[in-house]
């Protein structure tokens, strides 16, 4: 069984595509380090990132895919799930052989899964545009989250347009990486340990209390519908929400 590991970057994944083609091998599994568990597949073989390979693959994809299809390919990759890489390897060969029309063939299971992957990634990133909670720290604002998918690259533009005048950090604790922004520079993503959580500035507690109180009174008695509320705001996001009472977070 062939099991490949790459560095977890998009460039790394493109290099992996290159390796797959040049060696004419479709691996049984391919994963970034955080999804590599030793198991039946044994030790993974490392596929190193090679910029010239990556850019060759990218220009190949540009020729074979429509602009929207390329975007879909990237966003589906962000799903970062068990079989994401293998699915995309199959997707690329399907479209490369069948033509651009194939991108839209929802009746092909591979294409359908890629669409669904993209949709779920976009759904979560849109949801987190709302559910992210910043808190004031000494030199800016900080938010932590544990998303199902790898949404940081999709959140960058949104928050950079919204808060262009303050430095901020969005920290993915699960993947130990962070989106960092400084005024008049563009956002970037880098590694950040999950223990490295900055401390709140002193006035933070007052504002959080005010928001908690406002949230509490906004519910209308006589209309309670916790099931509906959980459908929009699933439990797994509560941990990082200021307004959810502590006792409910553990329940």
């Amino acid at each position: 069984m062939i099991f490949w590991r790459y560095d977890g970057t998009f460039e790394g994944f493109l290099s992996l595509l290159y390796a797959s083609w040049s060696r004419r091998i479709l691996p049984a599994a391919a994963a970034p380090p955080w999804r590599c568990r030793r198991g039946v597949l044994g030790d993974p073989e490392d596929i190193s990132t090679n910029p010239s390979h990556s850019s060759r693959v990218w220009s190949y994809l540009c020729a074979k895919f429509s602009p929207l299809g390329r975007k879909r390919f990237y966003r589906a990759w962000l799903q970062d799930r068990e079989n994401t890489e293998i699915l995309l390897l199959r997707y690329v060969s399907l479209v490369a052989n069948g033509g651009k029309e194939m991108e839209k063939d929802l009746l092909s299971p591979v294409v359908r899964q890629v669409w669904e992957a993209e949709r779920s990634v976009l759904r979560e990133s849109h949801r987190l545009e709302g559910l992210l909670r910043f808190r004031k720290i000494a030199e800016g604002y900080y938010a932590s989250l544990e998303p199902d998918f790898r949404v940081l690259p999709l959140l960058g533009d949104h928050f950079a347009a919204r808060y262009p005048d303050m430095p901020w950090i969005v920290h993915d604790l699960k993947r130990e990486e962070a989106l960092v922004f400084f005024p008049s520079r563009s956002w970037r993503i880098g590694p950040l340990k999950k223990e490295d959580i900055p401390r709140n500035s002193p006035e933070e507690e007052n504002w959080q209390a005010l928001w908690r109180e406002y949230y509490r009174i906004m519910g209308v008695e006589g209309r309670e519908n916790p099931e509906l509320m959980r459908r929009f705001m699933p439990r797994r996001y509560w941990k990082h929400l200021v307004e959810v009472p502590e006792e409910k977070k553990d329940a």
């Binding site: 929802l106 849109h126 709302g130 919204r162 006589g222 519908n225």
Partner: protein, 422 residues
Amino acid sequence: MELMKKLTILGEAAKYDVSCSSSGGTSGRRGAFGNASPAGVCHTWTSDGRCVSLLKVLYSNECINNCAYCVNRCSADVPRVSFTPEELAEIVMAFYRRNYIEGLFLSSGVERSPDYTTERMIRAVALLRHRYGFAGYIHAKAIPGTSPELLYKMGLLADRMSVNIELPSEKSLVRLAPQKSRHSVMTPMEKIRSAIQAYGEERRHSPRAPLFAPAGQSTQLIVGASPERDLQILRLCEHLYRWYSLKRVYYSAFVPVSSNPLLPQLAAPPLLREHRLYQADWMLRFYGFSAEEIVSDAYPDLDQDLDPKSSWALRHPDFFPLDVNRASYEELLRIPGIGVLSAKRIMQARRLRRLDAEHLKKIGVVLRRARFFLAFPEEGGRFSSLLLSPEKLRKELLPRKISREHPGQKRLPLEDPPLLSS
């Protein structure tokens, strides 16, 4: 903390206004920070399942009016407070920077006079826009009776404006809100409509022209506080969408807030009726139905057990079956259980091959209700619902789960979430 007390009172007093959407804003507003996302963003959901997008507060809960259905009527015994522009701006800034909210929804009781009240609201909003450079979303209420100059001033600062009609007929207004009249509500609505249109046209010619309420205007109707039938309500809404170009009409199930003898005594707010009205509203706005098709003199009320699209389909067996490979997009949208997303997927998938039931399932079309209204080639164009009597078909279309957790109050059916936002 003084601010906490004010926020509690003025938030509590504003929450019965159901509108909260932050969509339709433009990214064209210039400012130091903040923006309006055209799709709108929900930031949290309260215990009743409604989304919170904007900081919804009153500027003041002082009021000279005495509307029977309202918590802030002047005869009510509640503590009265007002924000100062600085206090309000400070809260909005702090909440916005922490990504708690998408912007501000500012309403107010009528303190002294409509003009006095509106002037103070304008001062607060202008402070946010000009001193703080806030370019996020602002929804401002137009107080009936405000002079046109002040309405224009507000429109130039806000993203959306709204005047609440509250009661669907003049008769009910006279009875329950003696200080208001249909005229006093419709005049500002018309003023805002014509200003939005005029500024919109100007902006098409020059992108530097000022913005006037770029996210349009909306209104709210209270359901169940007065005896109007759904027919009257939906006719009114159609009229509002067509002639006043409203972006949204919100429906608010009446929550009894006083024991006024003029008001009906309800055991629980009519949530299911509210939900059905929202479904009918979607049919008006997105599915190309007219109000007369949904309800008529023969059926003046929406069916509470069945969604309005299914009940329309049951009354129109002649319209079906539809051939999924030939039906136009507009026809597909009339099939119960098929919405905009499914219709679009069908249109796309059938370009590549002829579709049968299996194909539809594969592209994610839910056939539970739709299958009764579709004909497939492999069945020789046979129409499965013809095999069922209307009563049987009706039974098949009913939502499967009706909860027993809340006796006397049916749970909202799961197939269509009530879209209070977006």
